[in-house]
């Protein structure tokens, strides 16, 4: 459990700074640092167990089906990195409290920093590949927030975006690689993966996996050619640069390579890829560090270069090389952290980072100058400092590796060249900032920063000196411990300043002398560099992003031109393609089941339906006729239901058909009267083809289904209808009981549609034109006498019928839906016969509460079952005797059905009555000047 507390503590630390900010910067800093200190103590407390050969471990099952466990380990490698992350993190927290100006949101900054720290700790302690990847992505996210911390500054935003894109893309590759790796090892557990190195390297998929994993590592660790994001990430506040871009995040890729080295590192492919990439990065970074003029850019490229050095060591892969890589990770974190902090101090105190404006600062800030010079000397590899030791180990390894065979001399030569460049740029940096007179005045007059702001860098530099002087005492222990996690047998370490005169020492000597000479020739170098047009990686990157965006835009415009028909044809085309593919795979269309004979009535019905459908299309220019044709289809459909044993459906379809026709008649009145110009012949043919082929495909599909045996789940419903639902009409029992929840949703939708229509039409008032769209004058007899009297007589009868149909619904065809529709139709008839005004004055009740009440009744019925301890919508039933009417079976489902009934009545009437009353009662004469035009005009009387 102690292990889980380490990331948990830093995670808790995310929550601390923002609320603490109001108590002042000092307290906020202290509060933020507390969990880090405790975490650091916890890490160190594991040391005894580690030294005695144990492996602190914590595991909690998270998503076992994905192989994802919340598992942490703390081996030597994790310990080394955890100390680095937490230790330097502490120094950065202290440094940042001085670096950020008083008005900046330090709470937010610390919160991001802690989030980043948590994810880094997660990476180095993860004992599960997927968990590691999750933390890996978290570092990308949190570093995005940190780089873009000064979000008002466009460079910061762009730099953050670039870092995010590059490392995020690498993260995706890494995910793929890790999934492959886990698959090859048979587990995502780190221990299992690390133990199955031989099987992994022998696997066929090894090269793909390796490339994917390395893509992740290289992008994160800014290896050539993915290095370009790092210099642009320097737009971040300097504490971030010091922490993320020198000590920790960029080392995540290196950590990953070191971590997985036992599993995937034992192959020639690995050595070639990693060593050469590392060497290329080493030289490339060093060269650009020499020619850049921005202080932080120099440090950024120098970081790139040193990361390349470490990568190359990991690629060489001999036990000594691994140790050297780990050693250099530590050393680099120390001197580069100090360098960055001092660069931040210089920037902070002078207001600029341009070498042109800096100079002779040794007078103004002597302490900073001293500290920087020592750190730079360590960076250059000057003896008696830590950088010298690991760099010499690097030189030695390049000499002894058998990697390039006959061209083996190439590696040490390139390494020496890189060394020369390192010395040159370190010297240039120190000389230009502290000694050379400034060419231009810096914006601010420099002076020494507060002592505590200098302290972190001084501490780091002291470490540099101490390790440089007493390497055997200070570094051997932790290096041996860390390398046990990577190596099977740790080589005997002889860390010492003096190994006698040997080749590596000679190389170091050459590097220092030639480096100083190179800086002497710097003027000529500058002239040489000026011949090349500088390539701004940001412009290239932004250009690429914009190209991608514009391609996406063009593509979108092509597909999505705003036309509904266009979308429909794409959609239908897709459906057509898929259905066709499915049909083609059928061995034959006919499923072999015997078909039923065709009789006359059926033939007539089919003929009528086809006639209606085609008639609707053919007569589409005469909308009334088109509607009549449409109603033919609807009626025959309802007859079809009746013929094929679906009385409930037939009843529903019949009543819905009536209300739909009324709806469409009303809609015709207020929908546009004039059709737009006809579509082109080409488009007609396209649509006809599409519609025709879809029709054929669906017909074939239907036929294929009809002639095959089906296995329905409905036997359950049939068998349980009476014992479980207490009803003999299975369809109704399904609606109100088995699938009651669906029905509840449905009536809610219906009620919502009604309410929406009510709101949409609320203020719409249309003038009645003198004639219909085709020039026919309205009948002078507005409310025909016969219709009026018949409808009024019919109303009680219809209500009685609907009550009857409702009551018997559970056992005989009928039910809430049908009864509701019949009631609605009867009321609508009154509207039609008497007009809206008369009906509203006589039937003065609003429909909205009826619809909502219906939904409420149904919901409450469902909720009622909770009272009795049953799940939502459990029904109960029993037999009751009503005088005169006989035995009744009453079920709570009936109550639910009542809700359905009310909702249907309310919604239907809300829809139709609202549509019916949008016209003004005023009817213009034929010669009225406004005749034929529709002017919406708000009524003075607020509608209900």
């Amino acid at each position: 459990m102690t292990l889980a507390w380490i990331p948990l503590l830093t995670l808790l630390g995310v929550l601390i700074p923002v609320p603490m900010e109001r108590f002042g910067r000092r307290l906020c800093t202290l509060a933020t640092a507390t969990p880090v200190v405790i975490a650091l103590i916890l890490v160190l407390s594991q040391l005894p167990m580690l030294l005695s050969g144990g492996l602190p471990h914590f595991s909690l099952t998270w998503i076992p089906s994905l192989g994802l466990d919340l598992a942490f380990r703390l081996d030597g490698l994790s310990l080394l990195f955890a100390v680095l992350i937490l230790g330097i993190g502490l120094l950065i927290i202290l440094y940042a409290s001085y670096y950020l100006s008083a008005e900046e949101a330090s709470g937010r900054f610390y919160a991001y920093l802690m989030l980043f720290m948590t994810s880094m700790i997660g990476i180095v302690m993860a004992d599960n590949l997927i968990l590691l990847w999750i933390f890996w992505e978290l570092t990308s996210l949190s570093s995005f927030l940190l780089i873009g911390f000064w979000s008002h500054w466009t460079d910061a935003r762009k730099g953050a975006r670039m870092a995010m894109t590059v490392t995020g893309a690498g993260g995706l590759a890494l995910l793929a690689g890790l999934l492959l790796l886990g698959d090859m090892a048979g587990s995502f557990d780190m221990g299992t993966v690390l133990a199955s190195g031989e099987a992994i390297v022998a696997d066929d998929r090894y090269p793909i996996m390796l490339v994917l994993v390395l893509l992740g590592a290289f992008t994160k660790s800014a290896q050539f050619p993915f290095h370009f994001w790092l210099p642009h990430a320097m737009a971040a506040p300097t504490p971030v640069s010091a922490y993320l871009h020198s000590a920790t995040m960029v080392k995540a890729g290196i950590f990953l390579m070191a971590r997985l080295h036992p599993a995937i590192g034992d192959s020639l492919l690995w050595s070639w890829l990693v060593t050469l990439t590392g060497m290329a990065t080493f030289l490339y970074g060093a060269w650009f560090a020499l020619v850049k003029t921005d202080l932080k850019a120099i440090l950024a490229f120098s970081t790139v270069s040193h990361l390349g050095l470490i990568t190359a060591l990991l690629g060489i892969g001999s036990p000594m090389a691994i140790v050297a890589a780990l050693f250099h990770i530590l050393n680099h974190a120390a001197f580069k952290g100090a360098m960055f902090m001092n660069a931040g101090i210089i920037d902070h105190e002078t207001g600029t980072r341009e070498l042109d404006q800096l100079g002779a600062l040794r007078h103004a800030m002597p302490m900073t100058a001293l500290v920087t010079m020592i750190a730079a000397a360590a960076m250059a590899g000057v003896p008696f400092l830590n950088g010298f030791l690991s760099k010499e180990m690097f030189f030695a390894e390049t000499l002894y590796t058998p990697l390039l065979g006959g061209l083996g001399w190439l590696l040490p030569m390139l390494a020496t060249l890189g060394g020369i460049l390192s010395v040159a740029y370190s010297l240039r940096l120190v000389h230009a900032v502290f000694f050379k007179p400034a060419r231009r005045q810096p914006p601010k007059t420099p002076h020494e920063p507060p002592r505590l702001m200098r302290a972190p860098a001084m501490l780091l530099v002291m470490i540099c000196i101490a390790v440089g002087l007493f390497p055997a005492l200070l570094a051997t222990g932790i290096l041996e411990l860390a390398s046990t996690a990577v190596l099977e047998s740790v080589p005997e370490l002889h860390l010492a300043i003096w190994h006698g005169v040997n080749l590596p020492l000679l190389m170091s000597l050459i590097a220092i002398i030639a480096g100083v000479a190179t800086y002497g020739l710097h003027i000529h170098l500058k002239r040489f560099v000026r011949q090349f047009a500088p390539i701004d990686a940001r412009l290239v990157f932004e250009g690429a992003i914009q190209t991608i965006a514009s391609i996406a835009h063009t593509l979108t415009r092509r597909l999505d031109n705003g036309s509904l028909q266009r979308y429909m044809s794409w959609l239908l085309g897709g459906a057509l393609l898929l259905a066709t593919l499915g049909l083609v795979q059928l061995p034959r269309l006919d499923g072999g089941q015997a078909t039923h004979p065709v009789d006359g009535i059926l033939l007539l019905g089919a003929a009528l339906m086809i006639f209606g459908a085609i008639g609707t299309v053919v007569s589409h220019r005469h909308r009334l006729i088109s509607l009549l044709m449409l109603s033919v289809v609807g009626l025959v459909v309802s007859l079809t239901f009746a013929r094929f044993s679906a009385p409930d459906l037939a009843l529903t379809q019949l009543s819905v058909e009536v209300v739909t026709m009324i709806l469409l008649m009303l809609a015709l009145f207020f929908l546009p009267q004039k059709t737009p110009r006809e579509s082109s012949a080409k488009r007609n043919i396209r649509d006809l083809t599409l519609a025709g082929s879809l029709g054929m495909v669906i017909a074939s599909l239907n036929y294929a289904v009809l002639t095959r045996d089906i296995d329905s789940i409905s036997n359950f419903f049939v068998e349980n209808s009476v014992p479980g639902g207490g009803g003999h009409n299975v369809v109704n029992v399904i609606l109100v009981d088995f699938r009651g929840f669906d029905t509840l949703g449905e009536i809610t939708v219906l009620a919502l549609a009604g309410l929406a229509i009510y709101k949409l039409l609320n203020r719409l008032r249309l003038f009645m034109p003198h004639s219909d769209g085709e020039g026919r004058v309205w009948s002078p007899d507005r409310y025909p006498m016969i219709l009026t009297s018949v409808s009024q007589t019919l109303l009680p009868l219809a209500l009685l019928v609907s009550a009857f149909i409702f009551l018997r619904g559970h056992n005989q065809p009928g039910g809430g839906f049908i009864a509701g529709l019949i009631t609605a139709v009867a009321l609508i008839l009154i509207y039609m016969a008497r007009g809206v005004e008369w009906t509203q004055s006589h039937l003065d009740f609003p429909y909205q509460p009826v619809a909502i009440g219906g939904v409420a009744v149904a919901t409450l019925t469902g909720l009622g079952s909770f009272v009795f301890g049953y799940p939502f919508l459990t029904s109960a039933f029993g037999h009751f005797h009503l005088p005169w009417l006989g035995d009744f079976e009453l079920a709570t489902a009936m109550l639910f059905d009542l809700g359905v009934y009310l909702a249907v009545v309310g919604a239907t009437l809300m829809i139709l009555a609202n549509l019916g009353k949008v016209t003004t009662p005023h009817r213009p004469r034929k010669d009225d000047s406004r005749a034929g035009t529709q002017q919406p005009q708000p009524s003075s009387k607020e509608p209900r």
Binding site: S563, Q565, M568, H596, V598, A606, M609, I610, A613, I614, T616, H620, L630, V633, V637, F641, R643, S645, A646, D648, L649, T652, Q653, V659, T660, L663, L664, A667, L668, L671, P672, P676, S679, D687, L688, L690, A691, M696, I698, A699, S700, Y703, V705, L706, S714, F717, V718, H728, N729, V730, I734, A753, I757, L760, P813, F817, L821, A907, T908, L915
Partner: protein, 115 residues
């Protein structure tokens, strides 16, 4: 009988889709109607067509005495019919409001949200 039904459904679908692909709003609405009829028939017939055996259980029995028509598609279609009505009426009104803004019975002109 089965091939005939398939043909009818195919024709209903074809006409519905053709109507929905027209530019006129009114035709879209009519196409929607046709489509819901077609889809209902398709679902209804997918469980097989049984004559003279509605899914009712005789009084006093707890299970039907003989094979009855499949009640499940019937229940599905029943709700679909009612919902189709709701959707249709909502579509009609919504289209009417859009028409007020665009002032043309032309779906091709309803391309922007802020005409």
């Amino acid at each position: 009988m089965e091939p005939l039904m398939a043909v009818v459904i195919g024709i209903l679908y074809a006409t519905a889709i053709y109507m929905m692909l027209r530019r006129s709003i009114v035709k879209l609405v009519i196409g929607l109607m046709l489509l819901s009829n077609a889809a209902n028939l398709l679902i209804f017939t997918s469980a097989g067509m049984t004559r003279g055996a509605p899914p009712l259980i005789p009084e006093g029995a707890s299970e039907p005495l003989r094979q009855v028509a499949d009640p499940l598609p019937q229940a599905l279609v029943l709700t679909a019919i009612v919902i189709a009505f709701g959707v249709l009426s909502f579509a009609v009104v919504l289209i009417r409001r859009a028409y007020e803004i665009v002032k043309a019975d032309d779906l091709d002109k309803m391309k922007d949200t802020d005409t």
